[in-house]
């Protein structure tokens, strides 16, 4: 199932977890489409299912029922090897807690997704330099993550997410742990990505991000309560 302009198509998505004797329903019959080049903000209270939805869109998690199509691929039906390759090629993911690899330098953190696609070393080095320059951290390429502030780590996380130039970028609360000034820099990066024609889906509480979004999805207790375009 694919139409050229629809990047993400969610159909009656449900996700539930068994926590001891209690069944927790993280997503209930979520239905929406995301078109190519759109900036989508997913909003909602803590525990409303934003992160779960991003995880399902990225193929990190699978729905309990319903279907999720990303670039025409039914991710719920794919195996782990396909999903890994799919994420590497098509999706950039920015985690709320940065999740940089602590044993690698910033340059290596940005480079490793490219290594899996076996890009020529020269191309990789050029691209790493370009991305670190874009996020303003080229001068710290050989530093390790623990030597950076939270905002700087988040910017590296963006650079890593863009390493393979994926058409779809997912960001989970990218400004959630940052101060106001650093958050603005992150928002600038998001806007630049949108202007570059990338499809961007962001889970956020941040009003400033919501303001620049083309499409807003509001989740409450796992249900999509509003589609605001």
């Amino acid at each position: 199932m694919e139409t050229d302009d629809v990047v993400v198509m969610a159909s009656l998505l449900c996700k539930s977890y068994q926590m001891g004797d209690v069944k927790v329903e993280a997503l209930k019959d979520v239905d929406f489409d995301v078109e190519k080049g759109k900036f989508v903000a997913i909003s909602g209270a803590s525990g409303s299912g934003k992160t779960t939805l991003l995880n399902i869109i990225s193929g990190i998690d699978k729905p309990t029922s319903g279907a999720i199509f990303v670039y025409g691929e039914d991710l719920g039906a794919k195996d782990e090897n396909f999903l890994a390759s799919f994420r590497c090629n098509k999706i950039g993911f920015v985690f709320q807690s940065y999740n940089l690899v602590s044993t690698l330098t910033l340059a290596e953190n940005v480079a490793f997704p490219m290594e899996w696609l076996r890009r020529p070393t020269e191309d990789t080095e050029k691209r790493v330099g370009y991305l670190l320059e874009t996020v303003g951290l080229k001068h710290r390429a050989e530093h390790f993550p623990f030597q950076l502030s939270g905002g700087e780590q988040q910017r590296v996380a963006f650079a890593r997410a863009l390493a393979n130039d994926p058409p779809l970028l997912l960001a989970d609360e990218p400004t959630g742990n940052l101060d106001a000034k650093t958050s603005l820099k992150i928002i600038e990066i998001l806007q630049k990505l949108k202007n570059d024609g990338k499809t961007v889906i962001v889970a956020t509480h941040d009003d400033r991000i919501l303001k620049v979004a083309d499409q807003k999805l509001y989740l409450a207790d796992g249900k999509l309560v509003s589609l605001d375009e």
């Binding site: 890994a84 993911f93 690899v101 602590s102 690698l104 623990f146």
Partner: protein, 621 residues
Amino acid sequence: MSETFFPINDLLRRKLQTGLVIFALALCVASTLFLLLLGDKIGFGILSMAQNRLTASFVSVFSNFIIFVGFLVFLVGVVIVSFMVFVMMAQRVRDIGLMKAAGCPNDLVFGYFMNELVIVSVVGCAFGVVLGIGADYASTSLLSIIGFHAAQEPINFWVALIVFVSFLVLSLIVGAKPVLDTTQIEPTKAISPSYYYGLTKESDFKGSAKAGISFKIAMRSLFRRRSATLRIIFCLTAVFILVTVAIAGGLIADETTRSWIEKGVGRNMIMIAHRDISNQYRLLLEKFYEARDTPSLNYTDEKYQITNAILERLSLIQDVKFEARLVLEAQVEEIEGWKIDPATASTIPVGDSRRGRSLIVGVEPEKTLSEWLLDGEFLNSSQGFEAVIGDSLARGMFSEPLNQSVKVFGADFDIVGACLDPINNGRVTYVPLEDLQNVTGISACNIVLAKVEASANRENLVSQIATSVGAVDSKFEVLELNEILDNQVSFLGYIWSAIMFLPLFSLSAAALCLIGYVILSINEQRQEFGVLRAVGAQPRTVVKIVATQSLLVLASSYGAGISLGIIATLLILMPEPLVTVYSILEIAGWLLIALAVTFIFSLYPAVRFARKPILEVLSQT
């Protein structure tokens, strides 16, 4: 939460890790106990040599070997127990920090985790005792099945108790320190991933810019966990020394000792003698592998003498070499000798006047068909009144045999050599036949040894010899010595196999240690692996990183362990080792198998981990 239920629940929560620690501990206890019980059972206690079987030189070689292997088994046990307890407690640092941060007093935290340690130690040691006794029972049964008389004696429970208590105390001592250290850490540090995972330090390993990301992650993580990495390398090095000593030493010693026996008894030899002498000779040879008494026999009885008629008939048979011997039994006496003191250049007396029973064998030195392993030289008939004594006699009754003489039938014989001969457990004295006949007044011989030329038809010739001898006197018969020689060699082979079996326990425990280390390693890199996979790494990338780490640890330990093990084997354990190309290939093969098996086992946690859903991995960081 009581001090009883918390530890039990916590141990059950970490089933795999708890199982590993208990099993590793059990294997260490079992290997030590099995070693002690086996040493006791095959008749040469580690500390007290029993003289019922083998010969003194063999007992000495086995004892040295077992003592060395035993020392290594115990050392490896200590190192493994220490490592496993360290790993067990290292994974509880975060929990301890959380408990302290929540207000749990230090002594209560210490109590909880010490109780865990006690439970694991008691269960592991008890299981080890059962396993060790089971291995001993199985090995004794195997010994009986393959034809050696080894009775299932009652278990020496004192030995079991001592091993149990030793390892219990040991594990509690080595385990208490990390528990105490961990409980002393400030809660903020204990719960901080930066401290817990060591993220605040730059890794010492930079690596080539061209090295792959997986390799860099693998190497830097190894360097970051330096303490645990060094411990596991030390632990595996000790294990590989043990494995090398047991396998290389065992195989080399097996071949060497086999060659000693084959030289002494002679391959493809037959003996012609009166039925009674023949039976007696068989028993004297069989004493090497079965503790038994030989009945008294009057060797000088005329009916046992080989008649000229028999000798004449034998001399007509072509392609066979014959050697006549006179075998007697008598009391021999040590005669004091002397040597020059290098410091004062004066002569000093050597030895005493000890007495003992010995088999006395008169041989024609120029014609002898045997080729013993000798300390000194063999008889020379022109020198007159010389003797070569068996190794048990040399070690048991003489101080410096080559500087002494032995009194046989009232005559003094200068000892010119000590030989390794399995007959009568090495309590034998060889003298020139002519001299023996002169001092005893017996002019005949009572056995003839024969060796068929390799190119001849052995079966036909043996049959021809039997017919010729039987035609003169039906009470004389032909005894094939190959069968007895094979039994002697098999017995040696069995003992060496049993000794080589010992490191199997330690190797298994080492594999568990490595698995424990890999679990610790994965636990510490969990967040990184989760991120790698979330960003697009295939599950096999995680296995590749862990495999690289495991291989590096194994290769370092393997190189160090095998080098030290070979040095120990050649320098300490075996004088004049017989090393053949075949034995080198066999040793290399076994050691590579040990490496490969350990490596494959170590990958199990990585493969298991790689199958976990990414969210589960990330949620546990």
